[in-house]
């Protein structure tokens, strides 16, 4: 059901908020044993919220825009009074005394928290397998990963365990799981959405965004969470357009750039390539113009990212010292030993690996060679985009070179997992808004995602083009059968 329909049904008395929440809690109950998308389900709170909304309805009071909409939240966004673990032993008992700005805005708009979703530990990973509390499965095929790091949120939306969800995207952590799970996932312009209350991973790249089953719902959520926040000095002070009102605009005359380098990747599956090209051709048949563009420095995106992101992470994660909050190792003889042991015992191996990479890249003698060099290449990648946007309005690429891979596939080779992020990372490095939406299925019935990237603060265009494609392509109407996808 679309949020807009739900709003009408609540208003018209066809359904109550309690019935709606009970439906989703029932759905969670029936599929969670297989999926493990949630780390915690906040059933009591959700039902209490629903009753308040039903009371407002009974009294004839006007309802806020997202009244009763059940939402799941990635467990790296602070929720006051509700454990926020980042899927880490380090924060296993952390109950934040404050609420993140994005979730605060959702609750003010009437949305209802259904629970906190699983992620790769501290959002570091592409499969949701590095969670300290067990992996999440892909609803299309439980032997496959849901993608990551926001795999719990993507799987929950795909399996009908919520209407929409929030995730965070540092190098593709919203778009890649959206692609693997056959849902819509949006990474906004860096600064469009406040990061206050998002547990920091790589501060110059992190951005919060929505997951939904369709573009219109994603637009509704994005509208509510966007906008300036005095608590985040990197948030952009610009007005937020009504993303919903421009969805029906025509794509006639729109110039779509196909990034040559993205279609020439040797790891790109032929099924993904064909499906994404078919999506581009459909947009062309709707009146858009297809142009090939070149972004030669794209192929250096991963190397750039795996210097910058771990460097920032190593600094951000220095705060976990076993003193003020988080895990503490007992029995150490002195403070230094206590801190080093707490971090060795509290962080999982992927987090430790990235802290080590970052510390190495920033350590004496290497700072210039790695960190500064990566920042310079980051500039070159930004320039590639600037040049591309001189001749096109929007860029189109596959979201991921493959469909969802099998659990455990990259377990012994971290670099092979990192290389799978090559198509999503450049938008983070340049701060550009990007989204993934379903465009087809492979021979095994797994969803394929197409990525759209637009210029700074052009989320309206991004959502408009995605919506036009979605309406014409009807990908989900022709989906293969999957037991866990309603």
């Amino acid at each position: 059901m679309f949020i807009a329909e739900l709003r009408q049904q609540l208003k018209g008395g066809e359904i109550s908020a309690r019935e709606l929440i009970e439906h989703y809690l029932g759905r969670i109950e029936s599929v969670e044993n297989t999926l493990h998308a949630y780390l915690e389900v906040t059933a009591e709170r959700a039902l209490a919220e629903a009753d308040l909304i039903d009371q407002m309805r009974a009294e004839g009071k006007p309802l806020p825009p997202l009244a009763g909409v059940p939402i799941a939240v990635k467990d790296n966004l602070c929720t006051q009074g509700i454990r926020t673990s980042c899927s880490s032993k380090m924060l296993e008992k952390f109950v934040p005394p404050y609420e993140s700005t994005v979730t605060k805005r959702l609750w003010e708009a009437g949305a209802v928290l259904l629970g906190k979703t699983n992620l790769d530990e501290f959002a570091m990973g592409s499969s949701t397998e590095t969670s300290a509390f067990g992996a999440t499965s892909n609803p299309w095929d439980p032997s496959r990963v849901p993608g990551g790091s926001s795999g719990g949120s993507a799987a929950a939306v795909a399996a009908g365990e919520c209407i929409a969800a929030l995730g965070s995207d540092t190098g593709g952590s919203i778009r890649q799981p959206a692609s693997f799970c056959g849902v819509v996932g949006v990474k906004p312009t860096y600064g469009r959405v406040s990061r206050w209350g998002l547990v920091a991973f790589a501060s110059s790249l992190d951005q919060v965004g929505p997951f939904a089953t369709n573009v219109a719902d994603a637009a509704e959520i994005l509208k509510v969470i966007s906008g300036h926040d005095p608590l985040d000095s990197t948030s952009i002070n610009a007005s937020v357009p009504d993303y919903c009102s421009s969805l029906s605009n025509s794509v006639q005359g729109l110039r779509i750039g196909l990034i040559k380098e993205c279609f020439e990747q040797k790891g790109l599956s032929s099924e993904v390539k064909t499906s994404v090209m078919t999506a581009a051709n459909l947009l062309q048949s709707l009146g858009a113009e297809l142009l090939e563009v070149s972004c030669p420095r794209f192929n250096d995106g991963i190397a750039t990212y795996y210097v910058i992101a771990p460097s920032e992470a190593s600094a951000n994660l220095a705060r976990y010292d076993g003193v003020k909050y988080g895990y503490r190792s007992e029995g150490a003889n002195n403070l230094a030993e206590m801190t080093s042991r707490s971090r060795a015992e509290g962080f999982g191996s992927e987090v430790q690996r990235r802290i080590l990479i970052g510390t190495y890249a920033l350590s004496a003698g290497y700072g210039e060679a790695y960190y500064k060099k990566a920042q310079q290449v980051r500039t070159l990648i930004r320039r590639d985009f600037e040049k591309a946007f001189d001749s096109v309005d929007i860029l189109l690429t596959p979201t991921s070179p493959t469909t969802a891979f099998s659990a455990g596939k990259h377990a012994n080779d971290p670099l092979s997992m990192y290389l799978a992020d090559l198509l999503t990372i450049p938008a983070n490095l340049a701060g550009l808004p990007a989204l993934s939406l379903p465009c087809g299925f492979d021979g095994s019935g797994l969803p394929i995602g197409v990525q759209l990237i637009s210029n700074v603060l052009e989320e309206s265009r991004l959502l408009n083009v995605a919506h036009q494609y979605e309406q014409a392509a009807e990908v989900m109407a022709n989906r293969p059968k999957a037991n866990l996808v309603p």
Binding site: G191, A303, M338, Y360
Partner: protein
């Protein structure tokens, strides 16, 4: 190929305050060697006079009025400490014997 020895990893782990067992050190050494060798491809890129990007979008001198505000979460914050003693965080001894 960049060589990363167990000794290099041990030094970095010490800087990062990670007390790792020897077995982990040697695993990380192999993995870091592969990763650092991969990212070293950046060395070949010409970047003379290229200004480094420190943030995705340039935001300059964000300031606010320097007003004192009180918050009421002091007790909740202290309660999050693994060991608390009154209004203090309790830790093991700071100086070695």
């Amino acid at each position: 190929m960049k060589k990363i020895s167990a000794e290099d990893v041990r030094k970095v782990a010490e800087l990062a305050r990670l007390d790792l067992p020897d077995q982990d050190i040697s695993t990380y050494a192999c993995q870091l060697e592969k990763i650092i060798t991969y990212v070293a491809q950046l060395e070949k890129i010409e970047t003379v006079d290229v200004i480094p990007t420190t943030r995705a979008l340039e935001v300059l001198n964000v300031t606010r009025d320097d007003n004192v505000k009180s918050t009421s979460v002091r007790e909740e914050l202290l309660e999050l400490a693994p060991h608390r003693e009154g209004d203090f965080f309790r830790v093991p001894q700071i100086l070695a014997d």
